[in-house]
């Protein structure tokens, strides 16, 4: 009962947030509320036993997306223009779509019903066989990196595509490094010190998430995001120039591509052992050892690409001709 109550409460809160986003015209609060929405979603996801997803949603939705949106606002506009068009048609379309979905729920298995088809077909094997076939405790990681490892290669490619896309779109308008120190937060001494202290542990945590993904929530994607977050914090506080000196854009671009290559390459290695693509069992002495190594490697590839994409995207946004200054907020 308490589960259900928490569930409903969170969902209601989400709905309230969504409506609020709909009504607000100040983009800054829209973006902030969107971050709140993601964060509350993450709470709900934890509640629904999806810890890995929650971790990612929090890092991405509440973290990276918000930073990107704020950067965009700084470069574009603060307010939404008043509506000039009729909203009747969208309302009808959306209403009908919603009705159709509600109609579809009528034959759905009930929430949490263990006899639902999703719990009786396909998935049981993952739960029962992961221990013997893959040999790691985190089933999500097992499915992600091995059973459906090819999807994850696709996912890595998607994020790679986005990274390349942002570079292609924004590279032309990036301010070349001038040598001037445009540091936004020079005068926030406390912040600078705290940041310096924090970045070390954050990076360490990222490494932990990266290599602990087999055992608990985490993995390449989450680690990549945290890794990137450390850099972005560094850039925010010490200025873009400093961050670029630490990790130049070109290096980021290399890592970006190297991650995908690493993932794709591990799959290719299987060929030479006469195995199918992405069959890691050949990589080690035993099948599980091979799986273990394979998962570790591909997760590392994911981590590389994700962190590089996040950093390069941030560079591209923050490096635009109009930099973000903290006094603007």
């Amino acid at each position: 009962m308490i589960d259900t109550t928490i569930n409903f409460a969170l969902l209601l809160f989400l709905a309230a947030t969504a409506f609020s986003i709909l009504r607000r015209t100040t983009l800054f609060s829209v973006v902030m509320l969107s971050g709140v929405f993601s964060f509350v979603s993450a709470l709900l996801l934890v509640h629904l036993d999806a810890v890995d997803v929650a971790f990612t949603e929090a890092a991405v939705g509440a973290g990276i997306s918000t930073v990107l949106m704020l950067s965009t606002l700084a470069l574009t506009a603060r307010h939404e223009a008043p509506a000039s068009r009729s909203r009747a048609l969208p309302l009808i379309v959306v209403f009908l779509t919603g009705l159709a979905l509600i109609y579809g729920t009528l034959d759905m298995p009930h929430f949490g019903d263990p006899s639902a088809p999703v719990h009786t077909h396909v998935a049981p094997r993952y739960i029962t066989a992961t221990a013997t076939e893959i040999g790691i405790p985190n089933i999500v990681t097992a499915v992600l990196a091995s059973y459906r490892g090819f999807d994850t290669l696709g996912e890595t490619t998607v994020i790679f595509t986005a990274g390349i896309g942002v570079l292609l779109l924004l590279a032309g308008t990036i301010r070349e490094p001038t040598g001037l120190r445009i540091t936004a937060m020079d005068h926030h001494l406390v912040l600078r010190v705290v940041t310096k202290v924090l970045i070390g542990p954050i990076l360490l945590f990222a490494l932990y998430v990266q290599f602990h993904g087999d055992y608990g929530p985490g993995g390449g994607f989450q680690a990549g995001v945290i890794f990137a977050a450390a850099f972005i914090i560094y850039a925010l506080v010490f200025g873009l120039e400093a961050a670029r000196r630490a990790v130049p854009g070109r290096a980021v671009r290399w890592i970006l591509a190297a991650g995908v290559l690493m993932y794709g390459g591990v799959g290719v290695v299987s060929f030479f052992f006469g195995k199918n693509y992405l069959d890691y069992s050949a990589l080690g002495a035993t099948a599980t050892a091979g799986q273990h190594l394979g998962i570790l490697l591909v997760e590392f590839g994911v981590g590389m690409t994700v962190s590089a994409v996040m950093v390069s995207t941030y560079y591209a946004f923050a490096g635009q001709n109009r930099p973000i200054g903290d006094e603007e907020w």
């Binding site: 997803v53 965009t72 606002l73 574009t76 223009a81 729920t105 949490g112 993952y126 608990g216």
Partner: protein
């Protein structure tokens, strides 16, 4: 429809409300940033739909503990991890486009942009025919 049905489906209904709010923001708002935010909400709600169907009553997160336990379905989690990445990739690209549009048009309101395009088009056509 029994109370049991209502309780069993209420989760999905709320998720649908969230999805539709997101979709409505996308299609009804002309501000490009807000459209992206709408897309985010739409997609995040779909994530909730997937994860909801993976939940087993009394289950725990699908991380093997060695003890016999009921685990929630890991497959939706995996799918949604992928979907989140796709979502953030789309967001990043969308925002990059917004920045470029602002540079090129000086506006991020769809209506204003469309008006500018229409004007440019009819100008091109009249000069084209005059020549």
């Amino acid at each position: 429809m029994s109370l049991d049905d209502v309780l069993g489906l209420f989760n999905y209904w709320m998720v649908i409300v969230l999805m539709m709010t997101g979709l409505y923001i996308v299609v009804s708002r002309g501000n490009l940033v807000k459209k992206i935010v709408g897309l985010n909400i739409f997609q995040t709600s779909v994530f909730l739909l997937y994860i909801s169907m993976g939940k087993v009553s009394g289950g725990t997160a699908p991380i093997l503990t060695g003890k016999p336990e009921v685990y929630s379905n890991p497959l939706p989690h995996v799918l949604i991890l992928t979907a989140i990445v796709v979502g953030v990739a789309t967001t990043a690209l969308g925002l990059a486009l917004v920045v470029r549009i602002k540079n090129a048009y000086g506006s991020i309101e769809e209506d204003e942009i469309q008006t500018m395009d229409l004007v440019a088009e009819s100008e091109a056509e009249t000069t084209g025919h005059r020549r």
